[in-house]
Symmetry: C2
Subunit: 215 residues, 2 copies
């Protein structure tokens, strides 16, 4: 039994590796194309070309364009959720919100495509991930609002509506991904440098932390 399982796992190794690698390549290409062209503007052929695979191969791994899109959106959602860990076990708003801003700015820089796909999905009425909004995101938001409210009650920060504070954090951090092209254009057509990203993060942190009365 043990041996069988072992052998089975090893034998399956090659196949699963092929599958995992191809799915990864396809998802990466899809994320980029969906971000740059939107769901309607993206074509399976374009994604296939970018992935270096024949179009029919995409349909082998993902039955429909919508299924592929759905997976891309879900992957982004997962990354977002994990970013909130820094929020939880912080002693106060300075560390909690400060680290959350840093984490989200970092995601905006490293996953600009994903952020755009999410924005596009929500702007179009969230036809694919509406259930996520109503369950996971709603619970997540309620939990973080409670944390902020507790900080307020404990006198650790000024009484700011927790809900709108969260919206402000999302808006500012994601703006650097979603409107990256505009920001780049206003930066003489060049992407933000390391120093400029750091400057942006610090400015956001400073204004927000002072804005909630903890500086």
């Amino acid at each position: 039994m043990n041996e069988n399982a072992q052998v089975s796992r090893i034998s399956k190794g090659r196949r699963t590796e092929i599958r995992r690698e191809n799915e990864r390549v396809i998802l990466d290409a899809a994320e980029k194309v969906f971000a740059e062209a939107g769901f309607g503007g993206a074509t399976m052929q374009l994604i296939a070309d970018m992935a270096g695979l024949p179009k029919a191969n995409l349909h082998y791994y993902f039955p429909t364009k919508e299924a592929l899109y759905r997976q891309v959106v879900r992957n982004i959602f997962e990354i977002w959720l994990h970013a909130a860990d820094s929020f939880d076990d912080a002693p106060g708003p300075v560390e909690g919100i400060g680290r959350y801003i840093e984490a989200k700015m970092d995601i905006s820089r490293r996953h600009p495509h994903g952020s755009k796909v999410w924005a596009s999905e929500v702007m179009h009425g969230a036809p694919v991930i509406q259930d996520y909004l109503e369950t996971t995101l709603r619970d997540w938001t309620a939990g973080r609002m409670a944390v902020i409210q507790r900080w307020i009650d404990e006198g650790k920060m000024a009484p700011v509506d927790p809900r709108h504070l969260l919206y402000m954090l999302w808006a500012m951090t994601q703006h650097y991904a979603d409107f990256g092209h505009q920001i780049e254009t206003l930066n003489h057509g060049r992407p933000l440098s390391d120093a400029q990203w750091h400057e942006a993060t610090e400015t956001v942190k400073t204004v927000i932390l002072r804005g909630i009365g903890v500086i």
Copy 2:
């Protein structure tokens, strides 16, 4: 000559009225459809149905789908530029930035479709209005940054990077339009009420104005 011009103007009246009315109906429908489906996902047939006109009639007034889209984007851009008037002749950041936030929040509420079309256009690399970004928007930004820098130099507000402060203002105010569906979902599926819009605006104003050290 005068009479001729007068007669000509009156005679032309009916025709120009028809043209203006139809263009308005088409542009309104197009703004909504482009916002909800993106450029690629929008179809001329859908816009025609929403406008209550046969599809061929759209092509009589706008030669191509792209020309129609271009006009929609330009209209939004105009609205945005006018919103900055409140910025200019303000004695200091409290009035200037405060009023600017109010004006932009108001636009987000009354023109959510336009804001989404703009966001979508920028996210896709601004293929249609890149020249606007490089000329009008760049000049506008430079001008407002100078105003903010002057306020800083005069000791009227804390030294905050003017560029990133502008980005923060754009991000937060437009978020309420672009992510309106998400906000609505997190508000028990209901649109924000008058009171809630007011609360959002006040929260943004409070955090920002305190964040730049003027409260």
